[in-house]
């Protein structure tokens, strides 16, 4: 009995962590290229509603995820065009993208409120996926395995590949990278597009896997947690994985504490915990002396090439 509860808590943690991990991975790559896209929440919502709508119409969750990815990328391209081609302020544009995403997703999702959709079949045989113990390893949606794979892939890409090196260089010093002859704007567009795709997938994880249904502002501010997580992880994918699961655990604790009738503190306080944890973590990080040097040096600085 106890083991069953423990396993189900563990699985909820993984479930809650995955979308944050996905969105944060995308944002990590974006920030490594020197761009700060605060529109993660907006891109997630656009991904969530698109994924839900397409799955609802086509009946295929895979098509839904692909559509969410494309929708997230398109939303990111709006941001990219404004900030990279027109050199608009990245902070303001990112905030605008989030507001846009909230509004657009509510509008598009209006007809889908309350509907349900087919969800992913497990990629493992039922004997494993529904086994009382082994399901802790095999009982997840394919998206969860994808997120782990992407963590390793992003870490490897940044550390060991030449395009990864160039991306870091662009984020470190845009003018230097330009003078050596790399296309700063091109690299940043690619990074922003990747960030959008990842946020799109993260968003549709809520509407297709976790709930699975559509409701307004379904992501409930998790995009902001993903943003904080990138800072928390000091722009390192490995620590990002750790941080995402830590935040997932805090969020899950809230659910289970409520379910168990834990009444020492107000339930509102429990609900606020992930956000309080975010603030706490960010405050602690800024106290650390060397944190400044870990951020990409050109982060959020617009780049205008001289011709």
């Amino acid at each position: 009995m106890n083991e069953t509860i423990f396993i189900s808590i563990l699985m909820t943690v993984v479930g809650a962590s995955t979308p944050i991990l996905l969105a944060a991975l995308g944002e990590l790559v974006v920030e490594k290229s020197g761009v700060l896209n605060l529109g993660v929440e907006g891109m997630m919502l656009i991904g969530a509603v698109t994924g839900f709508a397409v799955t609802s119409v086509s009946g295929s969750p895979l098509l839904g995820v692909l559509a969410a990815m494309i929708a997230g990328t398109l939303a990111a391209m709006i941001f990219g065009y404004l900030t990279l081609s027109l050199t608009a302020n990245q902070v303001a544009t990112g905030l605008a993208l989030t507001i846009f995403g909230i509004g657009l997703s509510s509008l598009v999702g209006e007809g889908y409120v309350g509907k349900t959709v087919d969800i992913f079949d497990s990629i493992f045989p039922a004997a494993l996926a529904e086994h009382s113990f082994l399901r802790v390893l095999f009982g997840y949606s394919p998206v969860v395995y994808f997120s782990i794979f992407m963590t390793v892939a992003v870490a490897w890409f940044l550390k060991s590949t030449r395009p990864g090196l160039i991306l870091r260089a662009v984020g470190e010093s845009d003018s230097s990278a330009h003078s050596i002859g790399y296309s700063v704007i091109g690299v940043r567009y690619a990074a922003v597009a990747f960030g959008g795709a990842m946020a799109g997938i993260a968003g549709c994880y809520y509407s297709l896997v976790l709930t699975p249904m559509w409701a307004e502002q379904l992501t409930a501010g998790r995009g902001w947690i993903a943003l904080a997580l990138v800072v928390f992880a000091a722009w390192r994918p490995g620590r990002l994985l750790l941080g995402a699961y830590l935040f997932g655990a805090v969020m899950t604790f809230e659910l289970h504490a409520k379910a168990a009738g834990f009444s020492l503190v107000a339930p509102e306080f429990l609900a606020a915990m992930p956000y309080l944890a975010t603030i706490l973590v960010l405050a602690l990080i800024s106290l650390r002396k060397s944190s400044g040097s870990q951020a990409p040096a050109s982060l959020a600085k617009p780049f205008k090439p001289s011709t």
Partner: protein, 519 residues
């Protein structure tokens, strides 16, 4: 092949127009194989724009570039490197948080494994007798070592032409000598070098030919070995060089500004700790502080100006008044003004008008603020008089600081402080990136201020500047100040050695950076 094929590089009527400025106007010159050719000119003469076009960073509007006898279009730096053109930039295009190896890999075009690249780097280092550790992170290296990365990066491509943009502006005399050795070896192997500088004695020592630019046009060609520094300087500025009038027998008053045992803890990872700094400046004296960048000059300026306060009031005294624990406003009130190295953002607010910038530091000494309200008329008047006195090229006191060129903004900032007639003026790098005409004006103003009885502390990396106008001199290295020398009997070699400190000596540098690595 035509006769032009005996040139490695030939420029024919190259023209480049920027909004409002003709940066290069019909520039033509040629460089032979193995020649070290100087491009000489003041700031803004169009040297950097010209080489950026040769290296493919920018495209010329008209004219052509002929490479080994063939007319070429250099589309981008990658194409330039492929042709065999390497470049070392004035502001290094390095990535601070990455290793030497990663930095070099970024400058290479072919896909090469890290270990292969490392082997090649070690070969080049050995070939040219250079020392550099490929696995060190750039932010822990000295400026000379950073430049070596750029040079190695260029050499790996086995260039036929190497462009050096103001390579010596940040090096110690010993590092300059080392660099010249490398360049001579390169030239002996047939590589042409295009050497951009405004330091005439270096050009005389190193270069075989020179093209002189002024206002974007070629105004002359010469053989530097047959010219004098003065004759080249006059071609460069297109007029007679104004000699600084400094009386030989200047008289100094009593000790005016005394720093005694000033120690300040360094901030952050790369801050330098000031260690027991002591010196005395008499009334009417210019006290020079030499040193290689990053040895505590910034920290010293902040501590003397009041942006960082000392813990003991008596460590900084003006006419006997202890100022050590006071902030900038009170220090200014007592007559201690400071001009930082960074013009935009530290010395002036770029988006503010000149008169607003005047209010920021001159409000108390010039009575610009009454009961918290700014007297705009006084402020504008003061800014106008600074503009006039110091012949600042600006549209007027309402022009923003950011719209001025570096040299003009520097003249304005210097003027703003000097016209307040401070008792003590602390200046850091007053002529950095400023053309020769403006530099001479700034030097003259400093000398005149000293003649009026003020004490001046001049922090500079430019030895020529210190030797020209300072009366006494000390060298700062790793946050400690050397003994005070009289400029009249100081030897360049000794100053150079003091400046180099550990940085001048490769073995000691190794140890020092190791220490920082671990810390």
């Amino acid at each position: 092949m035509s006769k032009s094929s005996k040139y490695r590089l030939e420029l024919q009527g190259v023209t480049k127009q920027f909004p409002g400025v003709l940066a290069n106007d019909q520039v033509s010159f040629a460089v032979q194989p193995g020649e070290i050719h100087a491009l000489l000119g003041e700031n803004g003469a169009g040297k950097s724009t010209l080489v950026k076009m040769i290296y493919g960073v920018m495209q010329p509007d008209a004219g052509s570039i002929v490479w080994n006898g063939e007319k070429v279009h250099v589309a981008n730096p990658k194409a330039a490197r492929k042709m065999g053109i390497g470049m070392v930039f004035q502001h290094f295009s390095l990535f601070e948080a990455m290793t030497v190896l990663e930095n070099i890999a970024l400058g290479m075009d072919g896909g090469m494994s890290q270990s292969e690249l490392e082997t090649k780097i070690r070969q080049v280092l050995q070939h040219y007798d250079l020392t550099l550790d490929p696995h060190r992170v750039v932010s822990t290296l000295s400026v000379g070592e950073r430049q070596r990365i750029e040079i190695v990066r260029a050499l790996l491509l086995e260039p036929e032409l190497l462009i050096m943009d103001e390579p010596t502006s940040v090096l110690t005399p010993q590092e300059v000598a080392q660099l010249f050795d490398t360049l001579r070896k390169l030239s002996a192997r047939g590589c042409s070098i295009l050497y951009i500088s405004h330091k005439l004695h270096e050009i005389k020592e190193l270069c075989d030919g020179a093209t002189i630019l002024r206002g974007g046009q070629v105004v002359g060609e010469c053989n530097p070995r047959q010219e004098t520094s003065t004759s080249m300087a006059e071609m460069m500025i297109g007029g007679n060089l104004k000699q600084i009038e400094k009386g030989d027998s200047r008289e100094f008053g009593d000790a005016k500004f005394v720093v005694d045992g000033l120690s300040v803890e360094g901030e952050g990872d790369f801050g330098v700790t000031l260690n027991d700094i002591s010196f005395t400046v008499r009334a009417g004296e210019i006290f020079g502080i030499a040193g290689v960048a990053g040895n505590g000059q910034n920290e010293l300026l902040l501590a003397l100006g009041g942006e960082v306060r000392a813990s003991v009031a008596d460590t900084i005294k003006l006419d006997g008044k202890p100022l050590g624990t006071l902030g900038t406003s009170l220090r200014r009130y007592f007559g201690l003004c400071a001009v930082p190295e960074e013009r935009n953002g530290h010395g002036a607010v770029p988006d503010f008008s000149l008169s607003d910038n005047a209010v920021l530091t001159a409000r108390n000494r010039q009575d610009m603020v009454r009961w918290g309200i700014i007297n705009a008329k006084t402020a504008t008047g003061y800014a106008s008089s600074v503009i006039e006195e110091f012949s600042v090229k600006a549209t007027g006191p309402s022009a923003t600081a950011g719209s001025l060129s570096g040299g003009n903004l520097q003249k304005f900032i210097m003027g703003r402080e000097i016209m307040q007639v401070p008792e003590v003026l602390i200046v850091s790098q007053p002529t950095w990136g400023v053309d020769a005409g403006a530099a001479a004006a700034i030097h003259q103003a400093l000398v005149d201020l000293a003649d009026n009885g003020s004490a001046i502390v001049l922090i500079s990396q430019d030895l020529d500047e210190l030797l020209a106008i300072a009366d006494e001199l000390a060298v700062i290295n790793e946050g400690s100040l050397s003994k005070t020398m009289s400029v009249a009997d100081a030897s360049i070699d000794e100053i150079g050695l003091l400046m180099g400190g550990v940085h001048g000596d490769p073995v000691a540098t190794e140890k020092q950076t190791e220490k920082r690595h671990v810390a």
